[in-house]
């Protein structure tokens, strides 16, 4: 099976996600990431997470790559909970749900922590979805299609490409150092910091050398800040992607969903924490139904 290298991993070449125009995928990330900032009801934010997971499955992304995000998500959750409870101070006006090691865990603070956590998680999942399914080329096509100036598209796509190059350089430098007997396993933080210095200097030196080579290659191909010198040519990469009717429809649908969420939230007072099922359930669980 042929695989496409995305920013975060590999996705099969025949993944259905590639039937959607890259611009639509960028637009989806930017618009749908706004939803958790508008929606307070945790169950709706959890629905966005579920939707993101379904899209990851639909895109044939290997879900085991998400394992690296489990510690990040857990530490973030613990941090949010600690920030709102243990570090949250003493508030006699709040309802004490329970005490742990003498610390009062207030019902209001727990609710606030759950609210924040369920708003941050969907944003993480959406970013992971985007990075897992997007290639550098997709970003380039999305920006070129939206007529972003040449210098900006060039800078961003080259930056994404250079991330891959730096990772390769990093592994070469690490192997070279290992071959010279440098072993960080079980060593102190000071030792590991010294190790990091040994990585960062060669990485910078390689970047400096590359900058000259790249700049000369680009100038030799007749490029300037504004694109090709004088000659107007068709953009090859855009000829490989067609913005179809269904892509337009998706853009309209995503835009309408944003407008709908805004109207429900601010026009009709829906999607709030106060009216959420989660709050009612938490009230029953932590306060035993006490108002």
């Amino acid at each position: 099976m042929n695989m496409n290298k995305t920013i975060l991993g590999y996705v099969p070449e025949e993944s259905p996600i590639y039937r959607i125009h890259p611009f639509v995928r960028v637009f989806f990330l930017l618009v749908v990431s706004l939803f958790p900032m508008i929606i307070n009801a945790p169950e709706w934010n959890l629905a966005i997470i579920l939707f993101s997971i379904l899209l990851l499955k639909y895109s044939k992304v290997n879900l085991s790559t998400l394992k690296i995000y489990i510690p990040v998500s857990l530490s973030m959750g613990i941090l949010i909970l600690l920030s709102h409870t243990v570090l949250g101070g003493i508030h006699p006006e709040f309802y004490v749900a329970f005490r742990l090691f003498g610390f009062p865990f207030y019902y209001e603070r727990i609710v606030a922590a759950i609210d924040v956590y369920t708003r941050i998680l969907p944003m993480i999942f959406l970013t992971v979805l985007f990075l897992s399914t997007s290639r550098e080329r997709d970003m380039l096509v999305a920006m070129r299609w939206a007529h972003v100036p040449f210098v900006v598209t060039y800078l961003i796509t080259m930056a994404l490409r250079s991330v891959g190059m730096v990772i390769e350089d990093f592994s070469i430098v690490r192997q070279a150092e290992k071959a010279r007997g440098f072993d960080p396993q079980g060593k102190s933080i000071a030792y590991k910091m010294r190790q990091f210095v040994m990585y960062i200097i060669p990485l910078f030196a390689l970047a400096l050398r590359r900058s000259d080579e790249f700049a000369n290659a680009i100038v030799a191909r007749g490029y300037s800040f504004t694109g090709l010198h004088e000659v107007k040519r068709p953009d090859y990469i855009l000829t490989q992607y067609r913005f179809r009717f269904r892509d337009g429809l998706l853009v309209v649908l995503i835009s309408f969903s944003l407008v709908a969420v805004l109207i429900i939230r601010f026009g009709q007072g829906g999607l709030t924490l106060e009216n959420s099922l989660t709050l009612r359930w938490l009230e029953l669980w932590l306060k035993g139904g006490a108002a």
């Binding site: 998500s73 973030m76 944003m123 910078f204 700049a215």
Partner: protein
Amino acid sequence: MDAKQIWQVEEGETRSAGIIHVVITALLIGIGAVVGAFGSFSLPLGFGVNFFWPAIAVQNVGGIWFGAWGVIAASLFPIISNGITGTPIYVSLAYIPANLMQALLPMLAFRYFKADPRLNSKRDWIIFLASITLGNIFGALYSPLVVLKGFGLLTAESVPVFIWGWFGGNEVAGIIFGVILLKALSNVVITTNAFVKRWFA
């Protein structure tokens, strides 16, 4: 070459922004993204704030060596590195002013006071330390107080942890790696075409 000569545009010398500066900006973004992601995975405090963030050195030296191009790279690479480590895109975008200042202040200080990037004198050291410290103070105050509080991610009581986390994580890493990079590579960088004497060239 002394410190003044490094920043002096000689008579007849023409300096203009070119493709090489766009290329070095892209490469700086690449290095910063990788180093930043590495730091964010190792000692995370949450929401892109870390107890030890080596990528601050890329911001500091990037501004000093490559002027506004280094500042642009410093503003953009945390969006990638934070994204890889699971920070929401809008939180990363809101951090831009903090990241920008962390590169801009050393850039301005070295150019205004004509300090030597090779850190040859006590004066150069003071300018370096003061400028990165001021940048980190701005970042440490702006990010938790404006961004994280603004997004409703922190309570007022937990803000100090994040302020000290951001400041300490950047200051220590900035001093260690910034000094090593400036000492090791400034001699080479100031002779390259990518070196920026003014803002963009």
